[in-house]
Symmetry: C2
Subunit: 402 residues, 2 copies
């Protein structure tokens, strides 16, 4: 246990706390900040003055106060000036975005990705080209304070190396952070995180899970991933590979083969392929639209589609029950194609929970679908990119050379 | 996100940090404390002076320095003076102990518990009587700064209510913290925690897992429990029921019935009963000795015992593989009778891990047996009891009325 912080560390912490409030909550009056941060008015004034001088926030008179007396100034993030690059490397798409402080998407580029073996050269080249296009369009007074990518695979926390990505078709280790940093050429180190982990962070900070300190986000597409928020923090584990809910074995006896080389994993039982095969549609269709088509067919009374959805929902329910017993979360969030699957099989999921989750662990549990939908991973990548400037606003800005 | 701490909060934090060092690490020189806490000498001197005046530590000249110059004073915990009561409510035993600051067991009482339906009156009466006996023997200058109990069941974090304890034979909710507090009658609120959670804390602070920030402790007796340390903190979840690894379903198809009402739970497949039934010994024997007898018989070449141990080890390996994929721990610790089972079936556990745990999550993994053995729960209860005085040394001591 380290000793308490120095005065300078406290000032840095407070600057970060104030900036985080404005970044996540949007424009807010000085009076309200005083309230929320538990600091006195003069401290808040000094902190906002520092952040204003650095060009991170600006202060304005509120439009209407409806009250007598001098109105409290409103502090706004400098969204058009301070931004990050966020990248989403998914199985079926590549996205690059320029995201302003406060979370505003200022500019973006999307590309469809074919399900081919992974080519670092191709993916990094495409994303860096997108970023350069967007960078050229920025005004000269703007400043980039970070960059991060969400990757559909297991990422080593320290080095940003992709250690496994079977659904992306990677082979061996991919030094993705290093390659992106080099090709981007902005003098900024690109951080890389697992897509479902970052989506969990996004739902926790800006989505359906705001205010929840214990949350599990389940993400489905070809693979099934997850992100776990424990006491307000993303569970990374020893090396950053924590939260791999897709490779929890739920069906050891007669399990389907999994992309990881094992069988009976949650991913193998509830992923896209499991649903499409059970519905007799594998091979002819793929992707989110194919999953939606099965759910729609089940809705219209197609018995094959209904049986497929029930089967998948049943395994999903078992997986969720296990997670509820292990983590006692306040909320479980279904995202990606698991959103559709959950909506089509909520009865199976709930009946599994009723039998297999411990009563005290499920009595306050809320099951929800993602609020950010397909943007969750991109939003999470942007939050990862902003994390450095929020931890130490002035230092990062000084280095970015505004 | 709250603002940074005030000067007074920092002082309190530093007092707690220093006391925690002395409590967990034992006697330490002022020079070394300066080093470890990253504070300057005069601050360390002021903090130790405060703690000395409060009677929590004392300063002494070291016996031998072997170096020239004035030796740095050694700070020691006042173990004989400052103590807590720790209780362990297990399936087969009840323990009460008086534990001094620094973790020294000053006095203890043990009783065998029969596997009867749970009687709050009987258990609380027995433990309170033990505590009173020990309290009467203390000198008048001693001070009790906390009390806590480990309970073999699911405990509501807020209220210390036992919400489920099938292996203890509880029925309905048991307001255990309230009853213990009342019967102890020392004006101290008794904290209550799940036994495996507290054992995990004990192994993390004083056992095989010192220095590990991500650790899973698995505890077996009649039931199977667990405690998970995530980034240095015990995982409690929303209401404190997190870490129920025993009720992760590993065998959904042909699972054995579990005490929780479900079937195929890890507890049902690897608990005491599973092993004894597979070995054809259930009914005639029970408890740790019976488990040891099976492991010993397997060791001597008894094929029935070997098959039983292999079967249980196989399910244990599957459970551990799932936990490794979910948590990416640095260490998994086997405690209680799972210690014997793991030692007798390490090959099964490792071969499951080799196939079913993701390679990057298992490459740095260490599998270990408990260092504190049957004392882990009691040590964990003592640490829970000390947690308040370590968080705010002077306030707690003032209230204890030294």
């Amino acid at each position: 246990m380290r000793a308490g912080p120095s005065q300078e560390e406290i000032r840095r912490h407070n600057l970060g706390a104030l900036l985080r409030h404005v970044h996540l909550g949007g424009p807010i009056s000085r009076a309200e900040l005083t309230n929320r941060l538990g600091l006195n008015r003069s401290t808040i004034m000094a902190l906002t003055a520092d952040l204003t001088a650095a060009g991170l926030v600006r202060e304005e008179l509120p439009r209407e106060t409806g009250r007598a007396g001098r109105p409290s100034l409103v502090v706004r993030p400098e969204s058009a000036r301070v931004y990050v690059f966020a990248f989403d490397v998914g199985v079926d798409r590549l996205v690059a975005a320029r995201v302003g402080l406060g979370g505003t998407i200022l500019d973006r580029r999307d590309a469809v990705r074919r399900r081919d073996p992974f080519s670092t050269e191709e993916v990094v080249g495409q994303l860096a080209a997108f970023a350069r296009q967007m960078h050229r369009k920025t005004r000269s007074d703007t400043v980039c304070v970070g960059a991060a990518a969400a990757f559909s695979g297991g990422v080593d926390r320290g080095g940003g190396v992709v250690r496994f990505g079977p659904n992306m078709g990677t082979v061996g280790d991919v030094p993705f952070a290093e390659e992106m940093t080099r090709r981007l050429g902005l003098g900024l180190r690109v951080a890389v995180g697992n897509d479902a982990n970052l989506a969990a962070l996004a739902e926790h900070t800006r989505g359906v899970g705001v205010g929840c300190r214990d949350l599990i986000y389940l993400h489905g597409d070809v693979g099934v991933g997850g992100g776990v928020i424990v006491n307000g923090q993303l569970l990374g584990g020893h090396m950053g590979f924590g939260g791999e809910v897709g490779h929890m074995i739920v069906n050891p006896d007669r399990g389907r083969p999994c992309s990881c080389g094992s069988s009976g994993c949650l991913e193998a039982e509830v992923g896209e392929r499991a649903l499409l095969e059970a519905a007799g549609r594998f091979g002819s269709q793929a992707g989110r639209d194919a999953v939606r088509a099965v759910v729609d067919a089940a809705d219209r009374g197609d018995v094959v589609a209904q049986a497929a959805l029930n089967r998948v929902g049943d395994w999903l329910g078992l997986g969720v029950a296990n997670l509820v017993n292990l983590f006692n979360p306040e909320m479980v969030v279904f995202g990606g194609m698991l959103r559709e699957i959950y909506l089509g099989s909520a009865a199976q999921v709930r009946s599994r929970l009723a039998v297999e989750a411990l009563p005290p662990s499920r009595e306050h549990l809320r099951l929800r679908t993602s609020a950010l939908a397909d943007e969750a991973t991109l939003v999470g990548a942007a939050e990862l990119a902003f994390s450095r400037v929020l931890a130490d606003p002035l230092e990062v800005l000084a280095r970015a050379g505004s």
